[in-house]
Symmetry: C2
Subunit: 463 residues, 2 copies
């Protein structure tokens, strides 16, 4: 019995869903690491074995293209395999910083225990890697937490197929199939989030929806952690020396990064800051010209982008080269040029995330103005600086403020293309995430679903 | 200039307080570890040097007694010294679980950065260890976060004196004195918590006040972490074999733990569960008789305890031996005997924390009923089991549920007397704390005030 709202059965209630999740949790808690790892591996292998079918469906349902979808599926299966390996090698024990010296009294053994069932919201823009069995699900599983995932309406058939395959793989591994449940209905997902048996939530999506869910999670009679990856406006600073040395090359790289995924990544470089703004805008305009980017993810996203463009175009003091909607429904990239003083005066210009292939070029009259603009920006996932030297004017101050406001700072590089490396930090100050103390990418993501318990003076066999 | 509301100067506004804290933060962020450690050490030494004066004032203002106050001051100064040592030895870097193998691209260096100014609420029941420069302040400092502490009204002179000494010590160490600020006013403290420059809150106190502050912190435009240690009802399970072997000895140990600090510890064993409830009640009654415990902490706490006693005394089905208020205003310990079935039917009986020297003895008709009662209990700081063997009936199930519901589980011991050991976990599921993923005691407490940032492809000198 599944939690599908496909009409083939009466949709289950939140109580029923959590009763199943709790039973699966009891089994998972008592399962040795090697076994748990084999469950997660089985899901990874099953998706690999169905690669062609899955990419076909995803290609049918999204505009991302087979190459990207293929590599995203690889990322997803290797993410699962990576967590399985960490579980098998018992690397998720998270010992304390230090332990008592010698034979201290009392004897304390700190272990990490899973929180309980986790509600996960799939994202629109990563139909594999942040969806049914994406990073949130994989890391919750590695902590022994069953997952109830809210499928994204942007890729319903793919969600159902991945869900079917994953349940089948769990079942064949003698895992409780309810280690994964799926929901289509938004209201039911919210009922799951506020259910007393649900122990945490994880979300990737818009600031509006994410904040709404965060508010539900923290206003429960017993608040639970809610890990939301919301919106982020990610700046790239170009110093004057770097502009002189390689301004045109920078512009090409910037547009490449901006248009990756058609500007629909949370790591999109939405803002560039430069003391050579006007000349840089010319370079960027040239680099962006004639790039047909295809359709955006969903009609809703296209509408929202259209509106955001209309609104920025009407801003006084902002010169906008609007992304063109080509005859085939495809988009080109666009950008707006604005002076720093206006942004400082009206920070909402730079705080709004415009999801899609558009960037704000902020023309600064001094290095100091670069800092002033960064200062009015909200928390961000990632900030970048391009500079020829470490000691250039303002460089240390720029790095300092980027460290203070973000979860990742890139030197002479681009924010897109998050390396799925064990030490990655994906999550910065609000609103880029609801809890900057944790990451949603990399092995440490499992920490979100574990808590420490100390066993005091326990006899050896029970420790 | 200080944030004292003592009328000698105009009280500062939250804006002024946070402007000072932010300047202190800028200095602290740029301060090498050895220097930071010397600041914290200086505060510890200064308090040691003023031990007699401080214990005098504390003895004047509280009913805790010199012996307890003396050892609590020792705990406080050694806590500060312990964090200073960890800072000096750079043990607070918290590397990720794993790092990329070999020369991977991109190069990622994960560092931990401080969150920013922290608002701390002092507790009534630990005038040193959870007050002006208690564990919350020490761990925030170790993370390089300046602290604004709300003094508790239960010991105002002591708070002012500790504050004065700490500021003086900071000043002589060439630290910014505003690394520590103090507030007396409740409303001003709340304004500080919701100020945009405040990055976290930490609190030890009642569930009501703690939840109110938590709600303020998470409903900000940019929610911040709020680490609250709220109320906790901590159960002790006595198995039948342990009752047979040492029931009377258990009763004495239980009353010792119950009356430690006159029942005013968050770790007080508020509930005992036994299949030999009536006989155990007789033992406990005997052990508790004629213990004059002195006054409770404050008149407010005495009133609240008086009310709670009146309310439980009137409960049908509950037999209460009310704590007696002796002629000198002192209290004896009291307890109530109740059958498990009634508690399962009416869980609020066991969920309410009765701050003071009183415990609920729950008489269970079977091991299964012990589990049923534990199941209706809220999250707790600590749970204990007394058993003669690992394989006795229900033992593994009892341990399992205590692990699931608490932050610490004690075998054949008592919940009070939290060892200030590096691996301690002090914090369990709600309401015992607002974030069970963190501890407020032990070196790992510093984690609450740090977040990871990845430096990507940074040149060596800037990493």
């Amino acid at each position: 019995m599944t939690a599908r709202g496909d009409g083939s059965r009466l949709a289950p209630t939140a109580d029923e869903i959590l009763a199943r999740a709790s039973r699966a949790f009891d089994v998972a808690r008592a399962t040795p690491s090697a076994r748990l790892a084999s469950w997660i591996d089985a899901v990874s292998h099953t998706l690999e074995a169905s690669r062609e079918v899955l990419v076909d469906i995803a290609d049918d349902e999204t505009s991302l293209g087979r190459a990207r979808l293929d590599s995203e599926l690889s990322r997803t299966t290797s993410q699962l395999a990576g967590f399985a390996e960490a579980v098998r090698e018992d690397r998720l024990g998270f010992p304390p910083i230090a332990t008592s010296r010698g034979d201290s009294s009392p004897h304390l053994n700190r272990i990490m225990v899973p929180l309980g069932p986790v509600a996960v919201w799939a994202a629109s823009n990563f139909p594999f890697a942040f969806s049914i069995v994406g990073g949130d699900t994989a890391s919750a599983w590695a902590a022994r937490c069953p997952v109830i995932v809210k499928a994204h309406s942007g890729h319903p058939r793919l969600s159902r197929e991945v869900f079917r395959l994953a349940r089948h793989a769990l079942d064949r591994s003698n895992a409780p199939a309810d280690f994964l449940q799926m929901i289509d209905d938004r209201r039911l997902a919210e009922a799951v989030l506020v259910h007393s048996s649900t122990a945490a939530g994880a979300f990737t999506g818009s600031t509006g929806v994410g904040r709404h869910l965060f508010d539900l999670a923290v206003s429960r009679p017993d608040p639970i952690p809610f890990y939301g990856e919301l919106g982020s406006v990610n700046p790239v600073v170009l110093t004057h020396d770097a502009f002189i040395a390689r301004g045109e090359e920078f512009a090409v790289g910037f547009v490449d990064s901006l248009t990756l995924g058609k500007g629909q990544f949370c790591t999109k470089p939405g803002v560039v800051l430069s003391t050579d703004g006007v000349e840089l805008a010319a370079f960027i305009g040239r680099a962006a010209a004639d790039r047909a980017l295809g359709r955006l993810l969903t009609p809703n996203i296209e509408d929202a982008f259209h509106q955001a463009m209309g609104s920025i175009e009407n801003e006084e003091g902002v010169v906008t080269v609007r992304p063109a909607r080509l005859a085939d429904g495809s988009w080109s990239a666009g950008f707006s040029l604005v002076e720093a003083a206006l942004v400082v005066h009206k920070p909402e210009l730079i705080r709004e995330e415009r999801f899609g292939p558009h960037a704000l070029i902020v023309s600064c009259s001094s290095d100091n103005e670069v800092l002033e603009v960064l200062e009015v920006m909200d928390g961000m996932l990632v900030g970048c600086i391009h500079s020829q030297s470490l000691d250039g004017p303002g460089v240390r101050d720029i790095v300092d403020i980027l460290v203070r406001k973000s979860g990742r700072v890139v030197w002479n590089g681009w924010p897109t293309g998050v390396a799925v490396a064990p030490e990655m930090q994906h999550g910065g100050p609000y609103p880029s995430s609801t809890s900057a103390l944790f990451t949603s990418v990399g092995l440490d993501a499992v920490r979100r679903f574990l808590r420490p318990v100390v066993l005091q003076d326990f006899p050896e066999p029970l420790r």
